[in-house]
Amino acid sequence: MSDLLPQDQRAAFRAKAAAIDHPHELIVDALRAVQSHHGWVPDAGVALVAELLGVLAVEVEEVATFYDKIFRRPVGKKVIHVCDSICCWAGGGEAIAAHLQQTLGIGFGETTSDGMFTLLPTCCLGACGDAPAMMVGLTTHGRLTPESIDRILAQYRAEAAG
């Protein structure tokens, strides 16, 4: 439980929630704080957010499960969201997705055995002008080709190793 969120952040959320009329506004922020600290949001994280903000656990879970960028299961160090919406599809998104699956050796919803990457489909990333696109962690990469993907993945692996 202690590694979910540092004490100072807990105190900060408690104070903020007490000061505003609608503490529900803070649910996303609090979930993201737990996620960036712990990697993903376990059941105890949902309970913690509810307790910090003084809202119902069910209300936190509703938000947590609505957004596909809140992870309610363990994920790899980096999560790859590859876009499957219309512009990316028109720009060869299916081939990009296939290439990712092949190089990583995993299907959608799976994590590489070294725990480095989790692959997920996503709807439009707002990078349609740079289609096809994907997001790794919080960084968006556009105009993807199989070559650029290999390069990007190698870079992340190197960063993680180094």
Partner: protein, 693 residues
């Protein structure tokens, strides 16, 4: 009041009505799922398409999301609208498991009806279906998420209307999930309403699971017997078993919903321990013989000790018809020793309520529309759960709830809580009325004065009390307070939670008679030699069970009529089995003085599953149904009185003889009841004094 044209017919509707409701007023049903009268419109299911052919906005619109406007021309038969509805149904059905043959909703399923109405008869979708894992939601409600069409009615009912906190909607897109964070029993005391509101088979009654098809049930409009509020219910029976209960619709009382006690507590109807056989001195007898024995033995007591040696005890649970005939029987015997509850204090409180409610009477619907509800000593979730639900609607509508009680009172809504010991509730009421209330501490006084201000400013205020907590004195003070704060502009409303479904009717009949404690004194000093108990268990229900038990042993004759296996029934020399409200027609007067009838759902008899537990029909044959001996209590008295045993005739006679019960003459169980005019203002002190004499 806009006037619009729907399918070439004109209709004028109140401002704010949506097109779906306007069409329904013309008996045109536009297919829909997410709209529900009690929950309103949210435009979630996209099914209720229609075309506006003329007016400011035109084109295909969702009927539930468009307000009726003057001059609007609407077509629900427009080919595009019809086609859109067909497609919507088809995609709502893509993931449906097509498991109607094993679904309890089948036969009363809005999804089945709308699928047919929408013209979707053939599945074209051949892809994989999305499936869900179901949750264990406890012993009462089954969960089958694959049948969901995402209309959101459940979560709107559970969370918004009922104030539940452990149910919600998870996920997004075509994989939204309605349930709890984790498996476990639903916590809301109104959870059972999920069964009624879900238009598909996601939430079904687990206690009813796989027992019957809806069309095989015997159903009839009825009144819940489990508290004094008188909610409308529709019990369903089959094979001589009460199998399920669903909510009835009664706009002035429960609206569309009931509590879980009303839905899942099936009372004595199916109870295997229920006494069904008349008995004389422990020996089984025929009903006729038992009644005649009661008559002759009572006559012997009267001959020896005089008519006043006979005492009659009615019940808050017996029907009004039985209660009236009990009074008539008392008169014919020549005794005035007639009481309608074994609890003397509750009796006093109920009689004062009957005498003083008058213009203060408020319905649950009035509570829902109140701007200030003040609860004094009442615990609605325990004593009348729908009152708690009504209070929540008052808060949702911008009203406020204030609680004054000996311990914090749990409610499904925001409420201020002032904690005062029971002995100080009376003083608190005085203080609300403007009295000095010197016995209260300063903070309490301050809060009460603030509340008094609030009451003074409220437009539709209601004081809520409880006969159990306040007793006669407190109830009286509560009415004093209501009088004191009433102004020519507006009356302070009162709702008093009473003991049982016909406490009010009993109080009207008890009038100036004695209370049960006086009867006990009479037994003690030998003036009373015989006691007849109508669906009442004085040993279990009086203020002093030990004393009661001891004194009942001294009687020359104890007789009991009941459907329950009570301690009093066990001791009675003459026992007459009676029918429950499921097995007989009758009526109750609810705590607001509303007379409501219930209809017989089935004939009495031992449920088939008990007579033939192996599932095979019985191999022995009788001409009589096993366990069918019980009579409606009113019929027993009609026999004793030599009156008609036809309820319609009896009701007319009662209405003729006692104008207070005039509405009984034409009463119909499917119609909303009518509020009776109360016993005209018999001051409480007079009630008390006369009762003591």
């Amino acid at each position: 009041m806009p006037t619009l044209t729907i399918d070439n017919r004109e209709i004028t509707v109140p401002e704010g009505t949506n097109v779906l409701e306007a069409a329904r007023a013309l008996d045109i049903v536009i297919p829909h799922f997410c709209y529900h009268e009690a929950l309103g419109a949210v435009g979630a299911c996209r099914l209720c398409a229609m075309r506006i052919t003329d007016g400011k906005v035109s084109g295909i619109q969702m009927a539930c999301m468009v307000r009726a406007k003057d001059g609007m021309i609407v077509s629900t038969l427009d080919p595009d609208a019809v086609e859109l509805r067909r497609h919507v149904i088809e995609w709502l059905m893509t993931n449906h498991p097509h498991d109607c043959p094993v679904c309890d909703e089948g036969g009363e399923c809005q999804l089945q009806e709308m699928t047919i109405a929408g013209g979707h008869g053939n599945r074209r979708y051949t892809g994989k279906k999305r499936t869900y894992a179901n949750q264990d939601l406890g012993p009462y409600i089954a969960h089958e998420m694959n049948r969901c069409i995402a209309c959101y009615r459940c979560v709107r009912t559970y969370r918004d209307y009922c104030g539940g906190t452990d149910f919600g909607v998870f996920g997004s897109r075509d994989r939204v999930y309605f349930g709890r964070v984790r498996d476990g029993q639903l916590e809301s005391p109104f959870a059972g309403n999920l069964v009624d509101v879900c238009p598909t088979g996601v939430f079904t009654d687990k206690t009813f699971r796989f027992k019957s098809r809806a069309w095989d049930l015997q159903e009839a409009p009825s009144i819940c017997p489990h508290c004094s509020l008188g909610c409308a219910v529709v019990p369903g029976a089959r094979f001589r078993e009460l199998q399920r209960i669903r909510a009835g619709i009664s706009p002035e009382v429960n609206g569309f919903f009931i509590c879980d006690r009303g839905r899942f507590a099936k009372g004595s109807t199916n109870d295997p321990a229920r006494p069904r056989q008349p008995r004389i001195d422990g020996t089984p007898a025929a009903m006729d013989t038992a009644i005649e024995t009661l008559r002759t033995r009572l006559a012997a007591v009267v001959a020896r000790y005089g008519p006043q040696s006979v005492a009659l005890l009615g019940s808050p649970h017996a029907s009004l018809e039985a209660a009236v005939l009990l009074r008539d029987w008392a008169q014919s015997l020549g005794t005035t020793r007639l009481v309608y509850t074994a609890h003397a204090e509750q009796d006093r409180a109920a009689r004062i309520t009957g005498a003083r409610l008058e213009r203060h009477a408020r319905s649950l619907n009035d509570i829902r529309g109140s701007d200030l509800v003040v609860m004094v000593g009442a615990d609605p979730l325990a004593e009348g759960p729908l009152l708690a639900l009504a209070a929540r609607q008052a808060v949702r509508g911008g009203g406020q709830v204030a609680v004054i009680a000996p311990q914090p009172v749990e409610l499904p809504c925001r409420a201020s809580q002032l904690i005062l010991p029971t002995e100080q509730l009376d003083a608190a009421l005085h203080c609300l009325a403007g009295g000095a209330a010197t016995t209260l501490d300063a903070t309490a006084r301050q809060q009460l004065e603030a509340l008094r201000e609030q009451l003074a400013g409220a437009q539709r205020p209601v004081l809520v009390g409880s006969s159990a907590r306040l007793g006669g004195r407190g109830v009286n003070t509560l009415f004093d307070t209501a009088e004191a704060l009433t102004t020519p502009e507006r009356t302070i409303g009162v709702m008093m939670l009473l003991q049982g479904p016909n406490s009010y009717g009993g109080a009207m009949l008890a009038g100036r008679g004695p209370n049960f404690d006086m009867l006990l004194d009479g037994i003690e000093d030998g003036r009373i030699r015989a006691l007849v108990c109508l669906e009442s268990d004085p040993i279990g229900e009086s203020r002093d069970p030990a004393r009661t038990q001891e004194l009942l042993g001294r009687l020359d004759l104890l007789a009991a009529l009941d459907a329950r296996p009570t301690a009093t029934v066990a001791r009675a020399a003459i026992f007459l089995p009676t029918r429950t409200g499921i097995e007989a027609d009758g009526s109750y007067v609810s705590n607001e003085g509303r007379l409501q009838a219930f209809a017989r759902v089935m004939e009495p008899g031992v449920p088939l599953r008990d007579t033939s537990p192996a599932g095979h029909p019985p191999r022995e044959f009788f001409t009589e149904t096993p366990g069918s001996e019980p009579w409606p209590a009113w019929r027993v008295f009609a026999r004793l009185l030599g009156r008609s045993e036809d309820l319609a005739v009896l009701r007319r006679e009662i209405a003729d003889l006692d104008p207070r019960f005039a509405p009984l003459a034409g009463i119909r169980p499917e119609a909303p009841g009518s509020r009776l005019t109360t016993t005209p203002g018999l001051p409480h002190y007079q009630l008390d004094r006369e009762a003591r004499e």
